[in-house]
């Protein structure tokens, strides 16, 4: 075997995924911490500790979210070049075509997106920066070399959910930065703080949706075009039991962590 570990690690998909996930980490951490403080803000907490916690956390999220949109665009372009089938799955693009449209919402059925909102030529424009570029469709590969119809719908839902949440986070961030910079104050509207509270869990949903997009989107391959998932899966029995046990363990740990954090919040450590 002539293994090339460094080429395997630093492959063509490594860099955009690294940067994309790196920013996602900053965004999730920023918005989750900000959400906790925004919830306190809505309940009338105004002391310095709260203000600093809110502003610092929100600043990281607000700065990283717009950058993430651009990095996401780079990631999509790389996917279009390296894994055209995966891009077709993102969009539910059945036939290969020039000037491919982009569908928002809708359901993929029988090789096409139904009930969606169509934007003509937008997919070609986004993926190749050319409205008339040819985009490879799902018909380019055999049906058993691409995700099932259900898989395609899962990927579309995750991908669009990620983009939708990411865009809203960026908009929220820009709003905060603008008010903070130009008016030299925090926003007054309770709607803003409500949006920040929602942004915490939503940013985490977007992160998971991104992983679902990339991992389900490449099915049925576990190593792209080399090894199928069905050939890699363990033959050990009782895996559902193990997963069930893990769920119980982690739910228990989460519950204990929540209890402990609340206890600490009631009686903070002496600093």
């Amino acid at each position: 075997v002539n293994a090339k570990p460094f080429e395997a690690l630093f492959n063509d998909n490594f860099w955009h995924e690294l940067v994309h996930m790196y920013l996602a980490g900053i965004i999730v951490a920023g918005f989750i911490v900000a959400a906790v403080h925004a919830a306190g803000w809505l309940r009338g907490r105004r002391e310095r500790r709260h203000r600093v916690g809110l502003v610092v956390a929100l600043t990281f999220g607000a700065l990283a979210a717009p950058a993430q949109l651009l990095v996401g665009d780079w990631a999509a372009r790389t996917v279009a070049d390296n894994q055209p089938t995966k891009l077709a799955v993102f969009e539910g693009l059945g036939p290969t075509e020039d000037g491919a449209p982009l569908h928002v919402l809708g359901i993929y059925e029988d090789g096409d997106v139904k009930y969606g909102i169509e934007f003509p030529k937008l997919l070609s424009l986004l993926a190749y920066h050319d409205p008339n570029a040819r985009v490879q469709g799902l018909d380019a590969v055999a049906a058993n070399d691409r995700p099932s119809e259900t898989g395609i719908n899962i990927v579309r839902l995750s991908f669009q959910g990620m983009v939708a949440i990411g865009t809203r986070l960026a908009a929220l961030g820009v709003l905060f930065l603008w008010i903070w910079w130009r008016r030299r104050r925090l926003p007054h509207s309770p709607w803003f703080y409500g949006a920040v509270v929602a942004a915490g869990p939503l940013s985490f949903v977007a992160l998971i949706a991104g992983w679902v997009t990339t991992e389900v989107g490449r099915q049925p391959w576990i190593v792209y075009e080399v090894m199928r998932t069905e050939d890699a899966v363990t033959g050990a029995s009782g895996i559902p039991v193990g997963y069930g046990a893990l769920v119980v363990v982690y739910v228990g740990l989460a519950a204990i962590a929540a209890v402990m954090l609340r206890r600490l919040a009631r009686k903070p450590l002496e600093v």
């Binding site: 075997v1 570990p5 860099w15 940067v19 900053i26 203000r51 600093v52 502003v55 610092v56 600043t59 990281f60 607000a62 700065l63 990283a64 717009p66 950058a67 651009l70 990095v71 665009d73 780079w74 372009r77 920066h129 930065l177 903070w180 910079w181 104050r185 925090l186 363990t234 033959g235 050990a236 029995s237 009782g238 895996i239 193990g242 046990a245 893990l246 363990v249 740990l253 204990i256 402990m260 206890r263 600490l264």
Partner: protein
């Protein structure tokens, strides 16, 4: 090959030795280096991690708060850190010997999974124990901690026993999910792992009590070390009989050639100097592992149950080891004293800058964002992508200093 100095280890093309060649003369192959690293990592985990688990047992059965405090002070700085060795071994096994990794993890999914859950619960209980508010909570967490301290080494040992007795064939889940490890050899090795860990822990804690000048605890841990040592030795003898009927191949390997030498040393060992043994166990365990590792090329049956090795080797004494142990203890001591020194750092008051600085910084951040967009989005050349990414990261960094600067945070609405 093991006779060579590590200095001549060179990166050679992967080639397999002809059958029948004397392994000491055979060319070194990359697979041997990886295997040697795995044996070293496994030995370290058995000795250091084993002592870690064993300490959990002594913590449960501690005769008073005095002893519990000593345990906390001795193990506190390194507690739970030893799992890095397990991760090291798993990653090496996975990358260097993927078929072995797949065969072991699929057939032995049950004990390995149970051990993993035990490690999670143990770490969780350990982290939370200090926060317990009621006696009920403290007892519950203590029970979880102690139970997992026993179950984790048992299951890991049982997995090793299953591999050593040849119950794990190559292939995806080819062996039986239960009988591959729930058999004589597996159970015996599992028990030896638990008792060995307890012995190592008692030896180490005794040495640490001696260093701390607590003679009553030295006596207490000496008794525990002797008891667990005798138990481990007895189990090893019983285990040999079990292995003889359960896994004759393994028995032959243990009772002839290099394996015999180590067992002989084990037999005449005493319990003279508790402190020397922990460090020596580490060294001797590694030597023992080496002795066998070379002979098993190409077979998925690493005969050296390093657990046996450590259990046996730690009975002898030595000056070098004593020095090593002393040095290790000294290091720990230094860390104890230094802890908390950094906790009381006085923050200087933030420098007052004119507001114009902030304005400039914000504009600079915006410029970085616009520039990053202009470079990243329209171009596909790697240099443009790299520049674009760095400009966007710079936007975040400069932006944080512009937006959340100390002087702005200090101001009120």
């Amino acid at each position: 090959m093991w006779g060579r100095s590590p200095l001549v280890l060179a990166w050679r093309p992967l080639e397999l030795a002809e059958p029948g060649t004397n392994l000491l003369e055979a060319p070194l192959v990359l697979a041997d280096v990886a295997a040697a690293l795995i044996v070293i990592g496994l030995t370290a985990y058995v000795v250091l991690g084993g002592a870690d688990f064993g300490t959990g047992i002594w913590d449960l059965t501690a005769s008073g708060e005095h002893m519990r405090a000593r345990i906390k002070r001795s193990m506190g700085p390194v507690w739970e850190a030893n799992h890095v060795w397990l991760i090291f071994v798993l990653v090496l096994l996975w990358t260097a010997f993927p078929p072995a990794f797949g065969s072991i993890t699929s057939t032995l999914a049950i004990p390995l999974f149970a051990a993993a859950v035990g490690i999670i619960l143990r770490g969780g209980a350990f982290a939370l124990r200090g926060e317990a508010a009621t006696m009920l909570e403290a007892h519950g967490l203590g029970a979880v901690f102690a139970l997992s301290s026993i179950l984790v080494p048992f299951f890991l040992g049982a997995a090793v026993g299953g591999i050593a007795s040849g119950q794990v064939p190559v292939g995806n889940s080819e062996g039986d999910a239960w009988s591959s490890w729930w058999n004589g050899t597996g159970v015996v090795v599992g028990l030896i792992a638990v008792v060995t860990g307890a012995h190592l822990a008692a030896v180490f804690l005794g040495a640490d009590s001696h260093r701390a000048g607590q003679p009553d605890l030295v006596r207490a841990f000496r008794t525990r070390a002797l008891g667990s040592g005798i138990a481990a030795g007895g189990l090893a003898v019983v285990g040999l009989l079990v292995v003889r009927s359960d896994a004759p191949d393994l028995y032959d390997g243990l009772t002839s050639g290099r394996g015999l030498g180590v067992r002989a040393r084990h037999g005449r060992g005493g319990t003279r100097d508790a402190r020397a043994r922990v460090a020596l166990a580490f060294r001797a365990g590694a030597i023992h592992g080496r002795g066998r590792g070379g002979g098993d090329r190409g077979r998925l049956r690493p005969r050296p149950a390093a657990l046996h090795a450590a259990a046996r080797a730690d009975r002898s004494g030595g000056g070098r080891a004593r020095r090593d142990a002393g040095r290790a203890a000294g290091l720990r001591n230094g860390r104890d004293g230094g802890a908390g020194a950094g906790a009381r750092l006085a923050l200087p008051p933030p420098p007052q800058r004119p507001p114009g600085h902030r304005e400039q910084r914000m504009k600079a951040a915006l410029a970085l964002f616009v520039l990053g967009t202009a470079v990243l989005v329209p171009f596909d050349a790697p240099v443009a992508l790299v520049a674009g990414v760095f400009l966007l990261l710079a936007w975040i960094v400069v932006g944080v200093f512009a937006v959340a600067s100390p002087e702005r945070l200090a101001g009120d609405d």
